[in-house]
């Protein structure tokens, strides 16, 4: 068996002293798309944030290996340069810092890390415009400060644009579908699908099955109270959509919690 792209084992994570993830395990191989579903507060965002290295999230035990290496030992920017990308649920505004400048600085940091020369300004702009078109981002927005005055949909598409530019090996999408209308959803999904390949993996966190009509996952996991309590193929998502999360809770209650397969 090849080394999984991402392998999480029995991960326990706390925020301000409260444990949110209680022993989560997950394995993602290159070429696969995993969807993580679950009710609000189940720990979905915590998972993506801790993988990206946010300081507020403390790993108390367990491990996460990325491309065979200890992911948790790396600084956030090194994780990024190694190809881990997080599309944020709530993209931030950064006043005065232009999208274009920031993205070029980010791209060149990645290239330098890989021992590649910096991309010159002309070439960069050419690529950027092309990718912007792909996710329907107005070129005028590119020179504006990051997300300042962007609509909710524009912010989300801007996240995907950054992903297209940085071409990550592992993409973590944190509720990228929330607040999007169906057209925007299609654009976002198309952007993600265009990056799907044998070398890349994705973890798509979502509340709704809707997104998975467009980004079809290989596996679906249900995250509940800080653990993955059920895993299946894409059909699981449809079942969840139909029946909600209640039945899982009942199933859990019925079973001996200790025997829940994770």
């Amino acid at each position: 068996m090849p080394t999984p792209l991402l392998e999480i084992k029995d991960l326990h994570v706390s925020v301000e002293g409260t444990e949110i993830l209680h022993g989560l395990s997950l394995s993602v191989n290159a070429g696969e798309v995993h969807a993580i579903m679950g009710p609000n507060g189940s720990g979905k965002s915590t998972l993506t944030k801790v993988l990206a290295g946010h300081e507020a999230y403390q790993v108390t035990s367990g491990s996460a290996r990325y491309k065979g290496k200890d992911l948790l030992a790396l600084e956030p920017e090194i994780r990024a340069r190694e190809g881990l990308f997080l599309a944020f649920q709530y993209p931030l505004e950064i006043p005065g810092v232009s999208n274009t400048y920031f993205l070029r600085a980010a791209l060149n940091a990645h290239r330098k890390h890989r021992g590649q020369p910096e991309m010159d300004a002309a070439k960069f702009l050419e690529v950027l415009k092309e990718k912007a078109k792909q996710v329907d981002v107005d070129p005028a927005l590119l020179n504006r400060p990051i997300n300042e005055g962007f609509s909710g949909g524009e912010k989300k598409r801007n996240e995907i644009l950054q992903m297209l530019m940085l071409e990550p090996t592992l993409g973590l999408l944190d509720e990228t579908d929330s607040g999007l209308d169906i057209d925007a959803l299609k654009i976002v999904a198309h952007g993600v699908n265009s990056l799907r390949s044998k070398e890349r993996g994705f973890v798509v966190v979502t509340h709704y099955q809707r997104l998975l009509d467009y980004i079809v996952p290989d596996y679906v996991h249900v995250l509940f109270q800080g653990r993955i309590v059920k895993s299946g193929k894409k059909e699981l998502a449809l079942e969840l959509e139909k029946k909600g999360y209640g039945w899982i809770e009942e199933e859990l209650a019925a079973a001996n919690p200790g025997s829940v397969k994770v």
Binding site: A80, V97, F102, R104, A106
Partner: protein
């Protein structure tokens, strides 16, 4: 924010702290009528100037040093300051225009070329000539420089070129000798000799400075600039700048400054007066990089400056300042909006770190109808730095239709610094609209995390955010100076792309 980023931002060494070994001629320390007479005589001034100086001195003796400002400092002994210090002329120099090679070398080292053939590398002393970006093809931006060394102007470049259009750009001493009518008419017309403690002292003892007159309808073809350098120990620098833009004229002016690293505090008490006649525009930019003192707060310049402009009908005065140096910065570049439809602007970035203190802001005095003013102030406080924005917007009864907008933001880096905002708004006119907004915040951890998630180092992330915070002000500076200012702020160069 991680401590090491703060350190990177706050622990930059001061690069211009060297002392030049130049033979100086100084007068005895202290201020009295004899000293004032001596300065006036050394400058070969006409009688009216001496009279004016003496009146100022007499008035100064009746005044008390103000204490209302936030930064406090040990008492200054005004009798121990040397009020005049100038490089000794060397006999072997063949013409009046020739400069002591040591002086030339000093300014070269600061990135200031006194040679008209060479483009200046940096008005703020920010760049080595070798690393200066070459100008865009086809454009040769030129800057005329008045170089002031301690108490005197040593060289003013491009005087001849400017003269072709009737522009007078010279040292204040030269102006007093060659254009007494203009000096007598305008000197003290904006900042009278009774104005305030430091300005009054300046009136009595000022030794030099820059003078500029742009005739009617002329758009000054190049940036004008003064570079101030304090060199000698124990001196104070008291220079005086007067800029007159006649009807319909335009000028963009920049001042820069540095000083050697010393354990003692040195006083810099300058006065700048701007007169914008009907339809004229004056853009005045400052990149202030006086020696700030060491990490323990020892030494550094006290930068106590009075700057004020008067705008006549339809005129515009725009102050832009980037204040990164000095142990204490205490100044309020102001606009008296006298003429109808006149416009005043104030754009400021102030950064205080280590033990630096700044109390700065502006006054916008609306006298004319439909006058407009804009204030944008960005303060960055790091280390144990402490700074205050203090401003006054006054709408007088006659100023119908006046409009002001003020935005004052502070960014705090570290939990030992302070940031304060003290705006005064006085409105006596119901048709006037005044709006003031201010905010104080720290760099958000989430913003830093986002940028790091995209692959930027922590230090770059901080720089990028600080840069973005200041952008609105930096964009008001002439392009090449904006680059300098960003460097000074310890920022990465933004705007090279897109």
């Amino acid at each position: 924010m991680p401590d090491k980023d703060l350190q990177a931002l706050t622990e930059q060494e001061y690069k211009y702290g060297f002392v030049s070994d130049i033979e100086m001629e100084s007068i005895p320390a202290g201020v009295n009528e004899d000293i004032v007479k001596l300065i006036s005589r050394k400058k070969g001034e006409p009688e009216f100037m001496l009279e004016w100086r003496l009146r100022a001195l007499r008035h100064w003796r009746t005044m008390r040093e103000p204490t209302w400002q936030k930064p406090h400092y040990p008492a200054i002994d005004y009798q121990s300051i040397i009020y005049y210090s100038a490089p000794k002329p060397k006999k072997e120099l063949s013409s009046l225009d020739e400069i002591d090679p040591e002086l030339r070398a000093t300014f070269e080292k600061l990135g200031i070329s006194l040679d008209e053939q060479k483009r200046i590398a940096g008005v703020t002393g920010g760049l080595d000539s070798a690393t200066a970006a070459s100008p865009a093809p086809g454009v040769t931006p030129r800057v005329a420089i008045d170089a002031v060394f301690d108490s005197v102007s040593v060289k003013t470049t491009f005087q001849e070129t400017l003269k072709e259009q009737g522009i007078i750009f010279c040292s204040m001493s030269e102006a007093i000798r060659n254009h007494p009518e203009l000096v007598q008419k305008y000197l003290g017309s904006v900042v009278p000799f009774t104005d305030n403690y430091f300005a009054t002292l300046n009136c009595a003892v000022f030794s030099d400075g820059s003078f500029c007159y742009i005739p009617k309808g002329v758009r000054c073809p190049m940036e004008l600039s003064t570079y101030f350098r304090i060199n000698t120990a124990g001196t104070g620098q008291f220079e005086r700048t007067l800029i007159i833009a006649d009807e319909g004229a335009y000028v963009s002016y920049l001042e820069g400054c540095t000083a050697p690293q010393r354990d003692e505090n040195q006083l810099h008490a300058a006065v700048v007066e701007l007169v914008a006649l009907d339809n004229a525009t004056i853009k005045y930019s400052t990149v202030q990089n006086w020696y700030p003192g060491d990490k323990e707060g020892k030494g550094g310049i006290y930068n106590f400056v009075t700057k004020r402009g008067i705008a006549h009908k339809n005129a515009r005065i725009s102050w832009t300042q980037v204040e990164t140096g000095s142990a204490i910065t205490w100044k309020y570049p102001s606009c008296v909006l006298k003429g109808d439809n006149s416009v005043g602007e104030f754009y400021s970035v102030a950064m205080t770190r280590d033990y630096q203190m700044a109390d700065t802001g502006t006054k916008m005095i609306h006298l004319g109808k439909n006058t407009k003013s804009t204030i944008v102030s960005k303060g960055i406080s790091a280390g144990k730095g402490d700074q205050s924005y203090r401003g006054l917007v006054k709408i007088t009864k006659a100023a119908s239709g006046a409009r002001n907008f003020s935005q004052c933001d502070s960014l705090l880096l570290g939990d030992k610094c302070g940031a304060h905002t003290f705006p005064y708004i006085e409105s006596q006119n119901k048709s006037a609209v005044v709006e003031h907004e201010a905010s104080t915040s720290k760099i958000s951890d989430d913003q830093i995390f986002f940028l790091r998630q995209r692959g930027l180092s922590e230090e770059d992330a901080v720089n990028l955010i600080v840069n973005g915070f200041c952008k609105q002000v930096l964009s008001e500076l002439p392009m090449e100076f904006a680059v300098e200012a960003q460097k000074l702020l310890g920022l990465k160069l933004e705007g090279a792309v897109g």
